[in-house]
Symmetry: C2
Subunit: 192 residues, 2 copies
DNA sequence: TTTTATACTCTGACTACTCACTCATCTATT
DNA sequence: AATAGATGAGTGAGTAGTCAGAGTATAAAA
């Protein structure tokens, strides 16, 4: 039934978009530059993504999925809360340091106001297991009393971001920062 | 010496820019919309700011200065480290919650890559006293051993941001979040 | 197996539009 | 009178998205 779309071209466009967005910013990046770097015609970009907005949303979901994989794969379900959170933490920080462009684009997308509700929802779906871990920890009174659950996950993200910024600044200190960052975080939330 | 520039017009432009940037994003916001909302002609904007980039940088400095004032005014130099940090924390969180648009624009500016080195430097200058407090605390071994100094200040910002997000989401919980946020932070960095 | 029909993709020149910035003219201040 | 600000229609550069014609992978027919 006719010619199918090529998965390769789609990926090439998403890859090029990541590069161009990271370099020039979301709105300053012309779709023409993206198609050029992807090695396809300008029009082709629009057979894979109806609008630039669509491309943005698709890229967001793609990156979030990759990040979720980095954080959640091998999740030590049976180990202690501390070890589970540490696993997620390491996955996040290591991914962010190894994928600076994607992390940068993700940060831009997060504040862009151009993401649909559906994309945001789809992007946070793979992290339910982590949310469950936190809920579980709270119920078992492993964490400091009176801590709102949202503060726990929000601050881990914020904390990891700060840690990654520092690692990028001084890569030689990576281990110290990653370790130290989690230490502060854990000391902050764990029961005295 | 002819007609002088009006401080009022400059402020009107900066105010309008804050509103329009917060609503539409840095690059999607047309200068024409800004001048319209400021009640001046399109050309006038460019007698006060040579380029849109200039406007961005000026706005950044302006907001940072206001934020610094909110955080550092009444700084309790002679009190304990905990109280000094708590003062800065409260100033930050309260300002951020009360100035959502400015905070949003600041976040966008921070990731925009459109700020000059000079602006970034000028923007962090008013915070030296806080840096000194932290340095002092480290020297006096009040904080957890082996914590890199940059991690302390970076994480406070990250933490405060997360706290503000939550307060905006559930304003009724403001006190609990602000208190709880600082508690985690302090428990994280203070010596056991 | 080969041919044909079909329904899609690919292409890049083109369109319609938006934007940052200019400038000739007017106007307020000193 | 002299000087610099204020105005807004105008300019040129650049943009997202379109479209008609060419190409190609697939299924059905021969």
């Amino acid at each position: 039934m006719a010619r199918p779309k090529s998965e390769d071209k789609r990926n090439a466009i998403l890859d090029a978009a990541t590069r161009v967005f990271a370099e020039r910013g979301l709105t300053a990046a012309p779709t023409s530059e993206i198609s050029k770097q992807a090695g396809v015609a300008e029009g082709t970009l629009f057979t894979y993504f109806k609008t630039k907005d669509d491309l943005l949303n698709a890229l967001y979901r793609e990156i979030k999925l990759e990040l979720a994989d980095a954080m959640m794969s091998g999740f030590p379900r049976r180990k202690s809360v501390r070890i589970r959170l540490r696993h997620v933490w390491d996955g996040y920080v290591n991914w962010g340091v190894a994928n600076r462009e994607k992390r940068k684009v993700l940060a831009q997308l997060n504040v862009s106001g151009m993401l649909s509700k559906e994309s945001i929802e789809a992007g946070s779906a793979p992290f339910v297991e982590m949310q469950n871990t936190i809920r579980d920890a709270i119920e078992r009174h492993l964490l400091r009393k009176g801590l709102p659950i949202e503060l726990i996950s929000k601050t881990m993200a914020a904390f990891a971001e700060a840690t990654m910024d520092l690692i990028v600044l001084k890569p030689a200190m990576a281990n110290k920062y990653r370790e130290g960052g989690f230490e502060i975080y854990w000391a902050g939330i764990a029961r005295k």
